[in-house]
Structure formats: structure tokens, C-alpha cells
């Protein structure tokens, strides 16, 4: 009980400190506005918003303010994606693809205002659910994670990369794993963490410090999007929105079970390493369609369908921060960008993180969700106007932002070469339907995996069974093996036959 009270008072203190600081509002309003703008513009994503702001704010202002800027943009961008989904039938971000299924039919029926009002409310409640889960579970996991040693860390990092590769693959799972391995391989460049042995430096002194996270993030997420988005696109006819955009509390009350369920699903999916808001939205939409009484109406303008995806994708944010803060494993691609911001501020997320940072993150999330809610209701028409800006106008400015952001992080011109190289590779990977998120997660977790794997081997004198010597390590090892085995065709077929017999 004392522990809970201490945490609550700590949270209260962090919240008060933020609320009492006038600069908080300046960063919060600007970042949430920028986030919603990025989300609303088709072709610009939440990951891009957080990545670019990481380059711009990451290490240039005190950590508190940079966290406000990044989390505000993250919350805003996930919500902002709903605007083009509802009004243009074009998802602003992958996270709001499921929103378009019911949002656009509603807008065509002349209920666009109602849809936007409900989406705003659902996103707000979803973010709150994710934030509450973050506050509760982060402490539980943080207590458990004190028992995590090198073997568990190595297996967790591997599990994160494998799971992200498995779930983020649009085409073959093997492509997700290859992307993860490429990321891991990129993390091997430079001096190795235990013996300072140079690896793959090709005599170039810049490479001795390895690939920096921010240029890799910029290259992997921003450059392919700029190349892909620089094309002529006719903006479709926008659905008309009449009247004011207000939350319909009657509908919210009616669909509260749906909102709660979607919030829990979103948080759960977000907590899986490397699995982002898009998966959360679709999983929640699929579950909603299966369990809802009006499931047959999904895709035809169902309010329940709209709420299922929108609540989940915003709840996913809090969920994605749980593994990031507790284990140092990003729960989603934007969380990977956040990890980059932590890294350039010399903060290592994981069991050794300063608990005050977690309390501040929760307080910021709470404030960001309020700001998003208020902005969503009162400035929606501004964002509707922004929807009209062709992305060809916006993306060249994003390129300039990316360049100056990447340059100023520390590595200078060499970081720009790295960014461009990674960007071209990532573009071709996109073309071949290789997911990019596992690559980035591989780059971020590669160093951790290398160090903890070899440290485990060193402690055990080369005994590979060290990875099964402790209960948590055994469970993680089994999970890794099960994940790999579940994708092998003849095992899949055997399970299919067994399932068939059981039915």
C-alpha cells in the first residue's frame, strides 16, 4: 500500500510540475498540432512525425520538453490519421486504415461531424486506457524485471526482433525475419561492446562508433516515404461536414463496452514488441466484428466499427511504451524513434531506468491526450483545410527538416551519407514488401543482443544451456523456438491437420 501511495504522490508531483510550467503548454500545443497535421496528411505517418522531431528536439532541449514534444506528436499523429480516413477514404496513417472502413460511409451519409466527434472522444479514452495500463503494468513489470539478467535480455531482444518480423510482414514472414537480421547486422558495425574489436569499419574512422540511431531512423522511415510520396495525386472529393464537431456522450455511453474492450486490445497489442498501431486497429476491428451484435454492419458505416479501430490505435501508444520503458524494447515503430531520443540523451530504457522518468512520461501522456481532445473538438476545421495541401508540397520541406535534424545530432555530414544510404535500401525493401520496423528494431536492439549473448556465454564458460538455466530464460527460449517453429511449413501443416481432427 505504501508503494502505491508513494507512486501516486510521485505521479502527482510530476503532473503538478508539468502543469505549473508555462513552457509545457508551448511545447504541448505545438507538438500535438504538428502531430495531428502529420497524421492528417496522407503519406506522412506517426513514425515520421516522431522521427523528425527526434532529430529536431531530441538532444537540443531539456529531456522533459523533448519528451513532451515527441509524445505530443505521437498521440496527435495517431489521432490525426482519422481525418483523411473519414473525409477522403484515404488512411492518413496505416494505424487508421480500419477507421476508413466505417468512417467514410458515415461521412457520405452526412454524419461526418458525428464520426469525427466520436473518433476524437474514442481516441481520447483510448489514450487514457493505454496510459493507465502504462502506469499500472510498468511498475509490476519493473519489479519483475529486476530478476532479468543477461540470458533473459538476449532472448528478449531476439524475441522482439522475431515477433516484430513475424507480425509486421505484409508478404512472407521470412522477409520480416530477413529485415530483422539486416538490422542486427547493421548494429554489428563499429567497435564491439566487450573487446573493442573493430568490425566492418573498412578503415573508416566514422564507422568505429557504429551506425547512429537517428540517421538510421531518418533513413529508414523518412527517405522512403519522401520518395514514395513525391507523385502526382488527385485529392478526392472531401465529404462535407455540417454543424459543429461535438462528442456524442449518448453514443459514447452506449458503446462504452466496445470502447473499453478496444482499449484493452489496443494496449495488449501495443505491449507486444515492435507491433504497431495499425495491427492494433485491425485486430480490434476484427474482434469487434466477430463479437458485436451489429457485426454485419461493419464496413457499411457502423459507429461500433469506427470506435473499435480508433480506440485501439490510440490505446496502443501507452501499451507500446510499456516494453520500451521496462525492457528497452520498443513496442511500435514510433516507440523505436522515441528510443532513439532516449539514447541520444544518454538514457537507457530498461530495468535500470530512473522511475521519475516513467512518472513524467505518464503525466505527459495524460496532458497530451487532453490537448488532443480539445484540439480535435475546437480546431478540427483547421485540420480539414490542411488535408487539401498536396503532399508534393509538404514532402520537400520534410526532406530539409530530415537533413538538418540528422546533421545536428552529432555525426555531421557522414550521418547524412548514412541516412541517404539507409533510405535507398529501405525504399527497395519497401518495394519488395520487406517490413522496415523489424530492421529498425534490429538496429536498436542489436547492441544489447550482442553484449548480453556474449556475456551469458562468458559467465557460463561457453555452455549454451545457460539460456535454459533459469525459469524466465527457459520460457523465453521456448517462446523463441515456438515462434520460429510455428512458421515452418510442415509444422504448420501438421498443426492444421491436428486442428482439423480435433474439430
Amino acid at each position: 500500500m505504501d508503494f502505491v501511495l508513494t507512486q501516486l504522490s510521485g505521479f502527482g508531483g510530476a503532473f503538478y510540475a508539468l502543469v505549473a510550467d508555462p513552457l509545457t503548454y508551448a511545447y504541448l500545443i505545438t507538438s500535438v498540432f504538428l502531430g495531428i497535421t502529420f497524421g492528417a496528411l496522407p503519406g506522412l505517418t506517426a513514425t515520421l512525425a516522431v522521427t523528425i522531431l527526434t532529430g529536431f528536439f531530441g538532444n537540443k532541449i531539456p529531456l522533459d520538453y523533448s519528451l513532451i514534444a515527441l509524445l505530443g506528436a505521437y498521440v496527435g499523429a495517431i489521432y490525426g490519421g482519422s481525418y483523411p480516413s473519414i473525409l477522403l477514404n484515404i488512411p492518413g496513417t496505416a494505424a487508421s486504415a480500419a477507421t476508413a472502413m466505417d468512417g467514410y460511409p458515415l461521412a457520405k451519409e452526412g454524419r461526418g461531424g458525428e464520426a469525427l466527434g466520436l473518433t476524437t472522444t474514442a481516441s481520447f479514452i483510448g489514450t487514457l486506457i493505454g496510459t493507465i495500463a502504462l502506469l499500472v503494468f510498468v511498475w509490476v513489470l519493473l519489479l519483475l524485471s529486476k530478476n532479468i539478467a543477461s540470458p533473459e535480455k538476449a532472448l528478449l531482444a531476439l524475441f522482439g526482433i522475431l515477433l516484430s518480423g513475424t507480425l509486421m510482414s505484409e508478404d512472407l514472414v521470412v522477409k520480416g525475419w530477413i529485415a530483422g537480421l539486416i538490422g542486427l547486422a547493421m548494429a554489428m558495425v563499429g567497435l564491439d561492446p566487450l573487446l573493442s574489436e573493430p568490425r566492418y569499419t573498412f578503415g573508416w574512422s566514422y564507422m568505429l562508433s557504429g551506425f547512429q540511431v537517428v540517421p538510421v531512423l531518418m533513413g529508414a522511415f523518412a527517405v522512403p516515404q519522401i520518395i514514395e510520396g513525391m507523385r502526382h495525386m488527385e485529392i478526392g472529393k472531401m465529404a462535407q461536414v455540417k454543424g459543429r464537431i461535438l462528442p456524442n456522450f449518448k453514443s459514447v455511453k452506449r458503446y462504452l463496452p466496445t470502447i473499453t474492450r478496444s482499449g484493452v486490445i489496443g494496449t495488449g497489442v501495443g505491449a507486444l514488441p515492435g507491433v504497431g498501431e495499425d495491427v492494433a486497429g485491425w485486430v480490434s476491428y476484427g474482434v469487434g466484428k466477430t463479437v458485436s451484435k451489429e457485426g454485419d454492419q461493419f464496413g457499411k458505416g457502423s459507429l461500433e466499427g469506427l470506435l473499435s479501430s480508433e480506440t485501439a490505435n490510440n490505446a496502443c501508444i501507452g501499451g507500446a511504451l510499456i516494453p520500451l520503458l521496462v525492457l528497452g524494447i520498443p513496442g511500435s515503430p514510433p516507440a523505436a524513434a522515441l528510443m532513439g531520443a532516449f539514447k541520444i540523451n544518454n538514457i537507457i530504457p530498461g530495468p535500470t531506468i530512473d522511475p521519475e522518468i516513467i512518472l513524467r512520461v505518464v503525466a505527459i501522456m495524460l496532458l497530451a491526450s487532453f490537448t488532443m481532445f480539445i484540439m480535435g473538438l475546437f480546431t478540427a476545421r483547421v485540420f480539414m483545410k490542411i488535408l487539401r495541401i498536396p503532399q508534393v508540397v509538404f514532402l520537400p520541406i520534410v526532406m530539409v527538416l530530415t537533413t538538418i535534424g540528422s546533421f545536428s545530432v552529432g555525426g555531421g555530414i557522414n550521418d547524412l551519407y548514412l541516412m541517404l544510404g539507409v533510405g535507398f535500401v529501405a525504399y527497395f525493401m519497401n518495394l519488395l514488401k520487406f517490413p522496415i520496423a523489424p530492421l529498425v528494431i534490429g538496429v536498436i536492439l542489436g547492441g544489447l543482443f550482442d553484449e548480453t549473448f556474449r556475456r551469458s556465454m562468458l559467465i557460463s564458460g561457453g555452455d549454451i544451456f545457460v539460456f535454459a538455466s533459469r525459469p524466465v530464460a527457459s520460457v523465453l527460449l521456448l517462446l523463441n523456438i515456438a515462434l520460429i517453429m510455428s512458421q515452418i511449413p510442415f509444422i504448420k501443416r501438421a498443426f492444421g491437420r491436428l486442428r482439423g481432427k480435433a474439430i
Binding site: 574489436e197 527517405v223 507523385r231 514532402l395
Partner: protein, 252 residues
């Protein structure tokens, strides 16, 4: 996260996978070979024995590139089984699209010369202004000729900067700033001639000047961070007047 793909799209994808797998195999084989340069079996450096095999700096990269090689072979087998190898030698088979190739190539040229040629050597405001003008004008309506012109102008500025001042010691020279500014001005005039009532094209000069100017000033004077090419023809003047003319106003 499965999405629906038509059979034709899938066939094209498998043909591309065939080439992708071959490239991956070559890359992983190359890096496997390079990995053997790292002592694996307890090397001896300056008379000091280094770590055992299980603690060697090579053990993790060796595993990674071996797995990468195996998975590339798996991808190759999948691609061949799906008929990717048969389709891989024809343009239609790999889904060759000349319009898309032109679009990518011109963007690639613009980005390459901007990052590798202009940013290190030319004033940031000038080269970013040229980039914004070229990208918006070249790709706004999707005209092939405009794409080519945009790429040509940026490449010309980039090639001049690279040829005239390749070594880092010469990056402070200003003649390439002048060439870039002239090319930017000529392109802007051409854009305005072609703007004829097009609201987007008419705001290009404003965006091209304002965006890099605000960004570079915010970064240099707001966040006090390093910015590319501080000695550039425009930025050096801004910096001089900021510290000599403006700053004393509020410092005193």
C-alpha cells in the same frame, strides 16, 4: 498483417524476390567472408591472448550472416517454386514500369546530389531552396519533362560543387554557392512562367526561401546547434548580423 495481393502482383513480387534473394545471398556471403577477419578462435594481439570462441567479437555476426544466408536461400526457393525465376528475365515479369523508374531515378539523382554534393559545400539556405523548388516543380503534376529538368538543374549544381571542391579542405569556397543561387533563380523564374494561375506553383518561391531560412535559424540560434556549412554565402551574413547587429540590441 496480411494484405490482399492479386495473383499478377504476387507473380511480379516473386520475380523481384528472386533477384532480391540473389542480392541478399551475395551480400551475406561477402560479409561472412569479412567476418573471418575478426579473430574467432582466440586470436593473439600484441602478445596478449584474446577471448575464447564463445566470447569472440565474431560469434554473433557469424550467426547473423549465416542465418541471413539460409533465409535468403529459403526466399530464393520460394521465389523459384512460385515461378519467379522464369519471369525474372523479362521486364513485364518483374513489373518494370518506365514512368515509375523515371520518377525514382530523378528523385534519386536530386537527393544524391543534394546530400552528397550540395549540403556539405554550398550554403544550406541556397541548396535547400533549390531542392524545394526542384522537387515541387518536378513532381507536382507528374510531367516527365519537368522531372528531368528538375533533376538536371540539381545535378548540375551538385556536379559543379563536387568537381570544383571535392576535398573537404575546399568546402568553404563560395563560387559553388553562386552557381547554385543562379540555378535556383533561373529555375524559380521558369516555375513562375509556368505557374499561370496555379496556386501551388505560385507559392513555391515563398516556401523555398522561408522554410530553410526558418529551420536553419531555429537550429543555429534557437537550439544553438551545428548547421551544415556555416560559412555559406547567405548563412555567414545572417550569423554575422545576428551576433553583431541584432544580439547587442537585447544584450545591452
Amino acid at each position: 498483417m496480411q494484405t490482399k495481393t492479386t495473383p499478377e502482383e504476387l507473380a511480379v513480387l516473386r520475380a523481384r524476390d528472386f533477384w532480391g534473394a540473389l542480392v541478399l545471398m551475395a551480400v551475406s556471403a561477402f560479409f561472412l567472408w569479412r567476418t573471418f577477419d575478426i579473430p574467432l578462435w582466440g586470436g593473439n594481439r600484441a602478445g596478449v591472448a584474446s577471448a575464447s570462441w564463445y566470447n569472440s567479437a565474431a560469434i554473433v555476426p557469424l550467426s547473423i550472416f549465416t542465418c541471413l544466408l539460409i533465409l535468403s536461400v529459403v526466399l530464393l526457393v520460394i521465389a523459384i517454386k512460385a515461378g519467379g525465376a522464369k519471369r525474372s528475365l523479362s521486364g513485364i515479369g518483374i513489373g518494370w514500369n518506365s514512368a515509375e523508374t523515371l520518377r525514382f531515378t530523378t528523385i534519386g539523382i536530386i537527393l544524391f546530389f543534394y546530400v552528397a554534393g550540395l549540403v556539405p559545400r554550398v550554403d544550406f539556405v541556397a541548396c535547400s531552396g533549390l531542392l524545394i523548388t526542384a522537387l515541387i516543380f518536378g513532381f507536382y503534376k507528374g510531367h516527365a519533362q519537368r522531372m528531368l529538368l528538375a533533376a538536371f538543374v540539381v545535378a548540375l549544381a551538385g556536379i559543379y560543387a563536387m568537381i570544383a571542391h571535392l576535398p573537404q579542405a575546399e568546402w568553404g569556397a563560395h563560387d559553388d554557392d553562386g552557381v547554385t543561387l543562379v540555378l535556383w533563380a533561373v529555375l524559380t523564374v521558369f516555375v513562375m512562367i509556368n505557374a499561370k494561375g496555379d496556386r501551388v506553383l505560385r507559392i513555391v518561391p515563398v516556401l523555398a526561401v522561408a522554410a530553410p531560412l526558418i529551420l536553419v535559424c531555429a537550429m543555429a540560434f534557437g537550439f544553438r546547434q551545428n548547421v551544415p556549412n556555416r560559412g555559406g554565402i547567405i548563412f555567414s551574413q545572417i550569423e554575422y548580423h545576428y551576433y553583431v547587429t541584432l544580439r547587442p540590441l537585447w544584450r545591452s
